[in-house]
Symmetry: C2
Subunit: 272 residues, 2 copies
C-alpha cells in the first residue's frame, strides 16, 4: 500500500480540518487513508496546531478517549479582527450608501462571501464553548452570515420565515413588536425544524432596539428551546432603549453625520 | 527574522488557499509572511497541488505573470460525488418527509452546512470556467447553497426578493409565470445589486418546470446581464415540459411511489 510523506499528509489533513470546522474527526480516518501509525498522525497534528497557534489563525483541539479525535476551531488574531472592523467601517461610511429613510445600503456586504466568512469567524469564536445545537436567523439579509456561523460551529441553521410556506408542513407563528418601529410583525417556523430542549444563538445583519431578537426568544420558547447568545454584524446605538443587553456586534452605527455619511466605529468587544 | 519549516509553511498555505476558493493569491504574500524565497514557496505549492490531485480533492492553478499567482479550485472525486448523491436520495426518501400537497420536506437538508458544502463543491466544479461575476438565487431555501457556490467561485451572491424592502433603495420588479403552478408571481431586485453586462449563474434548491429560472433570465435582462448556467440540488422529472434544458442537478425526483415515499435517483450529470 502506498506511503505518503509528512508534507503530503499535513496538506491533506489541514484541508479536511479547515473545510469541516468544529467537526470531530477520529484519527483512525487518517491512519486508514495514509496507511500510517496513529503516533505518526498525532505528530502531524501537533505541527499543524503549532503553526495555527503561532499565526493566531485558530486551534486544533484534541478530545481524548475511544470516541475522541481532533477538531479545528476557528479564530483570527486581534490584529486581524481590528483590521476587518475598521475596513468595514470605511466601506459602510461611503456617502452613496445612505438611502431614503436614513438606512445604510449593506446588501452587497452581507452577500460578499469573503466579508461574510471573516465576520462569521469573529462571531463564531465568541460562541465556540456554548454547546449550541442551532444558529437561528430571520430571513433574508442575515442568512449568509448565520449560515457561515453555523458552519463554523458545525451545527444546523434555522431560518425563521416572515410568511408560512406550504412546503414546510405545520408551522408555529408568533406576532412580535419591532422595538424601533413599534410595528406588529409576524414570524413563523416549521414544527419539524427544532428539536425540543435545544440551545440556540441568534445571528443577524443589523440590530436596532432588539425587537426581532425578543421575538426569536418567544419563538424558541414554543419549542422549549433557549437562546444563549446573539451576534450581529452592525448594531445601531441610536435606539437607546435596547431591549436586550447580552449580545455581541462587530461594528457600531452611531447615526448620520452632518456631511451625510454614516458614523461607524468598531465595537468594544472586537477591539479588546 | 523567524524561519518556518516546510511542514509549517504547507499547513499555513493550505489553510489560506482552502479558506479562499478561486481567489488569486500572489506568491509574494507567502514570501513575506514566511521570510522565504519565491522558489521555496513554489516548491511548497507543488507538494500541495500533487497531493490534492492524487486524492482528487481539487486543484491548485498557477497563473503566470506579474499580476499572477495561485488559486485553489474546488472539486471532489467521482466516487465522492456518487456517494453524496446516493446518500442524499436515501435521506430524502424517508417516508415522514412527504408533506401535504406531495412536497418533500427538505428544509433541514438545505440548512445543513455539511451537506450544503458538499453539494456546492459539485455544482461549482461545473461552473469554474464560465468566468461569472455573480451567483443568483431567489429567497429563501436555496440561499445557503447559492452562497456556498458563490464562495467556491469567489464571486458575489445576489438574492432576488419576493417583496421589495425599503432598505435596498430603488428596485426593479418583474412578474413571471411559475411553470408548474401556472401562477403569476413577482420578484424584485435592487438597482444597485448587479453591474451591467455581467455573466451570472442561477442556483436553487428545487426545480420543477423552470418558471423561476425563466423569471431570472428576464430579470437579468433588465440589468443587461446574462444567465450562463443553472444548478439545482433536486430537479423534478414530473413536469415533462421543462421550459429550459441547459441546467445541472445533483438528484432527480421521480414522484411518489405507491408505498408513499419519494422516488429519487442521482442525476446523470453526477454519475458520469
Amino acid at each position: 500500500m502506498e506511503k505518503f510523506s509528512r508534507n503530503q499528509r499535513i496538506a491533506a489533513i489541514t484541508k479536511l480540518l479547515v473545510e469541516n470546522p468544529s467537526k470531530m474527526v477520529n484519527l483512525n480516518k487518517f491512519t486508514e487513508v495514509f496507511n500510517a501509525a496513529k503516533s505518526t498522525i498525532s505528530e502531524d497534528v501537533v505541527i499543524i496546531r503549532d503553526i495555527f497557534n503561532k499565526l493566531e489563525v485558530g486551534n486544533i483541539e484534541t478530545i481524548a478517549g475511544a470516541s475522541g479525535g481532533i477538531k479545528y476551531v476557528c479564530n483570527s488574531s486581534q490584529e486581524e479582527k481590528n483590521k476587518f472592523a475598521e475596513g468595514l467601517c470605511a466601506i459602510l461610511a461611503e456617502k452613496d450608501r445612505i438611502i431614503p429613510g436614513n438606512f445604510i445600503y449593506m446588501t452587497d456586504i452581507m452577500y460578499n462571501p469573503e466579508i461574510v466568512h471573516k465576520a462569521a469567524v469573529i462571531l463564531a469564536s465568541n460562541f465556540n464553548n456554548l454547546g449550541v445545537q442551532y444558529v437561528v436567523t430571520v430571513e433574508t439579509k442575515g442568512i449568509p452570515l448565520a449560515y457561515e456561523v453555523a458552519k463554523m460551529l458545525c451545527v444546523e441553521l434555522i431560518i425563521v420565515r416572515r410568511d408560512n410556506r406550504v412546503t414546510e408542513g405545520p408551522t408555529v407563528s408568533i406576532n412580535y413588536v419591532s422595538g424601533s418601529g413599534r410595528r406588529i410583525q409576524s414570524m413563523s417556523l416549521s414544527r419539524k425544524s427544532i428539536k425540543r430542549g435545544s440551545k440556540c444563538i441568534f445571528v443577524d445583519d443589523f440590530m436596532k432596539a432588539g425587537g426581532t431578537a425578543l421575538g426569536i426568544i418567544e419563538m424558541l420558547r414554543e419549542f422549549n428551546s433557549e437562546l444563549v447568545g446573539i451576534g450581529v454584524l452592525v448594531e445601531s446605538t441610536e435606539n437607546k432603549s435596547k431591549l436586550l443587553n447580552n449580545y455581541i456586534s462587530i461594528i457600531q452605527f452611531n447615526g448620520i453625520s452632518e456631511n451625510g455619511s454614516a458614523i461607524l466605529v468598531p465595537s468594544n468587544n472586537v477591539k479588546k
